[in-house]
């Protein structure tokens, strides 16, 4: 049973929020259930997040773990084109970035499907 994996977007397993300070963005990725947290640890790595934001050319991506909250905190350096004062983006704060990360594809064991947020999965998964 546990070998059977299903592909879902990260937002089914986690939620999050973006914050900014200067040219640095932080994005929280918080498991909807503690049993989903190990999957985040394994699959939402610094390298994966750096790749997700490759067009922003992050100078550094750091991941901090908060097991008591079943949450990860990502800090992305130099991804805001200078930040609130300097960026030409309409969203100078980068507030929308969390939802870009939450669309990341991940795989979860089918046995954990009942812990996902959103509509129930269909199609026999």
């Amino acid at each position: 049973m546990s070998e059977s994996l299903i592909a879902v977007p990260l937002y089914r397993a986690a939620h999050g929020r973006t914050g900014d300070k200067g040219n640095r963005s932080n994005i929280s990725v918080i498991a909807w259930h503690a049993d989903l947290y190990p999957l985040l640890l394994a699959q939402v790595t610094e390298a994966v997040v750096a790749q997700r934001f490759a067009n922003r050319r992050p100078a550094r991506v750091q991941r901090f773990e908060l097991p008591g909250l079943a949450a990860l905190n990502f800090v992305l350096d130099e991804v805001l084109d200078g930040g609130v004062n300097d960026a030409l983006n309409l969203d100078t704060h980068g507030k929308a970035l969390s939802f870009w990360l939450l669309d990341l594809p991940i795989e979860i064991p089918a046995t954990l499907a009942s812990l996902l947020a959103g509509p129930a999965l269909t199609g026999g998964d």
């Binding site: 937002y11 939620h15 999050g16 929020r17 914050g19 900014d20 300070k21 200067g22 640095r24 932080n26 929280s28 918080i30 909807w32 067009n55 922003r56 050319r57 750091q62 901090f64 908060l66 008591g68 909250l69 949450a71 905190n73 800090v75 084109d81 609130v84 004062n85 300097d86 960026a87 030409l88 983006n89 309409l90 969203d91 929308a96 970035l97 870009w100 947020a117 959103g118 509509p119």
Partner: protein, 457 residues
Amino acid sequence: MTESTSSPLLIGCAAGFSGDRVDAAGPVVDTLIARGGPAFLIFETLAERTLALAQLRRRVDPQAGFEPLLDDLLRPVLARCLAHNIRIVSNFGAANPLAAARHIQAMAAGMGLPAPRIAVVAGDDLSGPQHEALLREQLGDAMDSIRKVSANAYIGAEAIAAALDAGAQIVVAGRVADPSLTVGPAMSHFGWRADDWDRLARATMAGHLLECGAQVCGGYFADPGYKDVPDLHAVGYPIAEISSDGHCIIGKAAHTGGVVSLAGVKEQLLYEVHDPAAYLTPDVVADISAARLTVLGPDQVALTGVRGHARPASLKVNVCHESGWLAEGEISYAGPRAEARARLAADVLRRRLPDLALRVDLIGVQSVMGDDAGRLLEATPAGDATDVRLRVAATHTDRAQAERLPREVTALYCCGPAGGGGVRTTLTPRLGTLSCLVPRGAVPLRFDMLDHLPEAA
């Protein structure tokens, strides 16, 4: 110590930024009165840019430079706060706390209220010539090439606590760190020392949860089908119940919309946090790496497990300076081949303005996710979107050069692709920020009771 110093303290927050809702405070104050006991109301109204904008207003009018909505924020609740001994602490003094205090004094008099004891916190403003050498020590030659607008140190809770100890009913500050608006009242109420790191750290995180107003009550959270929030249109503002160990229970104003949920409080706890083991403020280094959140009941979430370490030796200073002009222009295309026409219009602008580094957004296709250099847009194959708004932006230090962009966007009406409509253009002065650290001792802080200050010249 009186008995009240060990009883829990209620702190309500009625604003999370300059321009926040002015009808937020009423339900918060109603709830503080109904719950009884010692209580404070805070308004957090400063962001990185807000102070520079306030300083620019003060240049024009020496009596201006405080929160423009001060009157609208405070007037609806001032009488009830004074009548029920709910003390008010805020950074709404911005670039001119003294003028804000005088304004409140006049407001109270005009409302026929007994004169409140108002304290003014000073010392954060380093924009004067006497501080030039200090800033130059840290920023060096960078100071020569900028036109400075403002310079403020992020100061902590001590002056606020001292002002409250001295009997202030209203404390008006400028650039205090956001969480310090909560730490100050807690220090004063519980009689904590300024090196009681664990307690200060816990109150700091309570302040952190409060400082963005509705963001911990279901604001900035709703995502239909995933994170549903009841009555978001009437979202309530938060109230923290702080205990004598500094930990807090987050709740919200009664009879309001929104929700204080585990998920929402987690998001806000990590908002604008970098290393969770070292959240730096002027008061303390807070460590939330082992923090826990527990639901105690409807709209009641408790925070525990926060630890503190000795505060940083230096204070952060932001120096804001004029940095040229931001030019923006937009035009819409709709119907068949709308995206192709919008892309052609962008191409026209690039060729007409080859020396400006243009950012291009195709709103409806790709905009905020893109980078200023256009790498993501370049990697996005042209599609056939049928309702597209082209937006371009560029900056220039010279206003005349920047103005070429809005003119060229406007010219697309007659000279651009077919069917372009709805041109809007803006030209905005820009502010840049330099940050540095200065030794704590170089920033002498104080508070003054307004009664003891000389009248305005």
